[in-house]
Symmetry: C2
Subunit: 125 residues, 2 copies
DNA sequence: CAGTTATTTAACTGAATAGGAAACTACACG
DNA sequence: CGTGTAGTTTCCTATTCAGTTAAATAACTG
C-alpha cells in the first residue's frame, strides 16, 4: 500500500487521533494500561469534575480505545489497544522517512541502497 | 519510563494528534512523503478552496509536521517526520498491550518471560 | 423503602475548528 | 508600471469541544 492510497482506508483515524489529542484522555489510557479502573478511580488524579471525566471516557469508548463492562453500579473501563495498533501501523508508514532522514520517501521507495544521498541542490534561482 | 509518567513529557502531543485528526491534513502529509510540493499542488486533489488548504498547512506547520521554504512566490512544503517519530514512540509504549493481547501491561511489566500466558480466567461473577 | 454510592444526562458557556468569500501581499514578467 | 500567479489574511458562520453545575438514573445496603 502506498502512502497515496493510505487516505482511503483511514476508516476511523480521525476519531482516533481526535481522541488522543487530549492530555486527560491520554493519561486515562496510560492508567488503564495498568489494568481496568472505574470512573471514580480514573477521575482521582485530575482536577476535573466527574461529568467531565465521564465525557472523556465516552469519547474514548466511542473511539474504541476503551471497552466497558458493568459490575453493579460500577462501570469499569479497560484499554482496547486495537486502535492504538492502527495508529502504530499508520505512523509506521512514515518510518522510512525519519529513519533515512531523507524527508523524501520516493528515494527510499525507488532505491533502497544507501547510495550517496544525492543532494538535489538549492534551486532558488 | 513507565506509562504513568508518560503524561509528563507529552510536550506537544496534543498539537500533533490534533493536527493528525483530519483527513485532509493526513492526505497532505502523505503527498509530502513523496517530495515537496507547493500549496496549489497540495490543494489540487481536494474539493476545498485555497484558503482552506492554506490554513491546513499552517496547522501542520505549527505542529511541526511540515517545514516550509520560499522560492519566489512559491512556498513549498516538505515533510518533517520528527513529530511522527514522537507519535511512533508514544504509541509504541502500548505495543506490549496489543501484542500480548493481555490488556494488562502490569503482567507484561512484571514478568517478561513468555511463561505460558497464564489465563486470568473469566471473572464476571 | 430511605439513604448512599457510582455514574450519566441535561443545560449552559466559552473557546477552538473548519470552511467560504473577499480582499490583500508578494513576486515575476513583459 | 501593470498584469497574472501564488499564497495569505481578514471576516464571518456553523459546528464541535471542554468544562461547569444541577438534576437524574442505577444499584447496593440497611
Amino acid at each position: 500500500m502506498s502512502l497515496l492510497t493510505q487516505t482511503l482506508d483511514d476508516d476511523r483515524l480521525d476519531e482516533t487521533f481526535a481522541a488522543l489529542a487530549n492530555p486527560t484522555r491520554r493519561a486515562i489510557l496510560a492508567r488503564l494500561a495498568h489494568g481496568e479502573a472505574n470512573v471514580n478511580e480514573l477521575a482521582a488524579p485530575f482536577d476535573l469534575t466527574l461529568p467531565a471525566i465521564s465525557k472523556h471516557i465516552k469519547v474514548l469508548e466511542h473511539a474504541r480505545l476503551v471497552r466497558r463492562t458493568a459490575h453493579a453500579q460500577y462501570r469499569p473501563c479497560s484499554l482496547d489497544a486495537t486502535r492504538l495498533e492502527a495508529v502504530a501501523s499508520w505512523v509506521d508508514q512514515y518510518r522510512p522517512v525519519w529513519e533515512a532522514r531523507l524527508d523524501r520517501l520516493d528515494e527510499y521507495v525507488g532505491q533502497l541502497q544507501p547510495k550517496r544521498q544525492q543532494e538535489k541542490g538549492p534551486r532558488h534561482g
